[in-house]
Symmetry: D2
Subunit: 145 residues, 4 copies
């Protein structure tokens, strides 16, 4: 399997994220270990204070995390997320989450996630996310490096 | 305003959680500082591995956290959540989140959240959640203690 | 090796914690998965505000975590700790940390740690701590259950 | 009080960190919101596996965090730290912690901390740290911006 086939297969796998489709989030792998998710907030995604629900802010961060940590074709599952909520947003705002791999050695890998208000550039939330990488590969292992 | 009026007003406020309604989650305040949320997982709530999305697991924990931390009628906003994912679930499983106040002194309060598979009782996730309590009250302040 | 030999061997291993000795902390395994650490705060353990240093509060929680997570004789190493600081203490106060295993299945285990002011019983800090359990055992594996 | 006086006063305050002196750590403010701490690991700072104690790794991160978050002259106290341990070190290794302010608006501020092995440059640990900023200033408030 050549490199383009691997990329396509990995991207198809990532796009099967049902909850991302359900919310209307767009998930992209920018390069191995690096992904971006965008979502426009609707009235259905608010909490009882009338602000974007913490569960929605977390969810798009988690989608970016999942895309980045599975972007090598190896099955990775979340162990821990520590998230700080920094600025409220609300209906009509567009959020952009980016995940960047920090370390990936052996069974454990760590990601930094930022979630920003796309219009203002302000940090909405920031998290550090840890995965456990299984011995399973959903795309043929890349032995080129 | 007597105590039953306060309770009713606080519960009505908590029930305005649009994202909880959107997902079909049921939110209850069991007593001040203690709440429970239940949700049955549907196909729309899965990730690309076919398991319950981390965003959904987090969301019901966050709903329990929000209900418990706002159950005194004082506006509380999330600062930090540290969540550990312990066991996968999938479509058809019913999750139960419970939040318990650990300390609430001055502007900061801390909650322990457990999320369990209702059928097996197994821990699905566990988090510690920190809020900042504003000087605003959405239900008249309770001066009885 | 009988059960008392295992216990003795595990306890001897736990007691080799040089930093615990350096600070004067006392580390006990109460039962498998459950430990307690006590330490009296000295002037050397304060921060620039004149309060117990966050590094000292964390350290005794970490000692309890390490004792509890290694109490089965299997080598466990810390992956993630999320700690909330709730109440200040200072020189002369005695802190007590307790760690309790929450789940331990396969390579990952989770612990709840509370750190209290021994005199007042107040919560000083609370953490959730995650370990990775290696395939190495420093005491013969217990196959009895 | 001119700006150099403020800087000197703030630095003197930061240098009163007794636990930093006790361990032999060197604490510097690089610029407001940014600090660096260095420490050479000794045999007294090891855990029972013979590796640098988690409490020591955390402590130097915490010293960097405290220096950065108090570098404006306003009293800041730690609320939450989420730390990921990535690579073991041992006696003789020199650790370098750096803290960088991410946001500081109103009573809450967030810091990213990296702890590296100075010789290899490898990440030893990484944390996100949240403070509450009190209304007290230990150096005259800077109204210049």
């Amino acid at each position: 399997m050549d490199n383009n086939d691997r990329k396509r297969k990995i991207n198809e796998y990532i796009q099967r994220d049902s909850f991302a489709r359900f919310l209307g989030a767009k998930v992209e792998i920018l390069k191995p270990g690096h992904s971006r998710v965008t979502l426009t907030i609707t009235d259905d995604m608010l909490n009882f204070h009338g602000l974007t629900h913490g569960g929605v802010v977390f969810a798009i961060g988690d989608m970016a995390f999942a895309a980045a940590s599975n972007s090598h074709g190896q099955t990775a599952v979340a162990l821990n997320v520590g998230i700080n909520f920094l600025k409220a947003t609300t209906s009509g705002d567009r959020l952009v989450a980016e995940a960047e791999e920090q370390t990936a050695a052996g069974p454990i890998a760590l990601y930094d996630i930022t979630i920003r208000n796309d219009r203002t550039g302000e940090l909405v939330a920031k998290s550090q996310d840890l995965v456990y990488r299984k011995k399973e590969w959903f795309a043929a292992r890349d032995d080129s490096g």
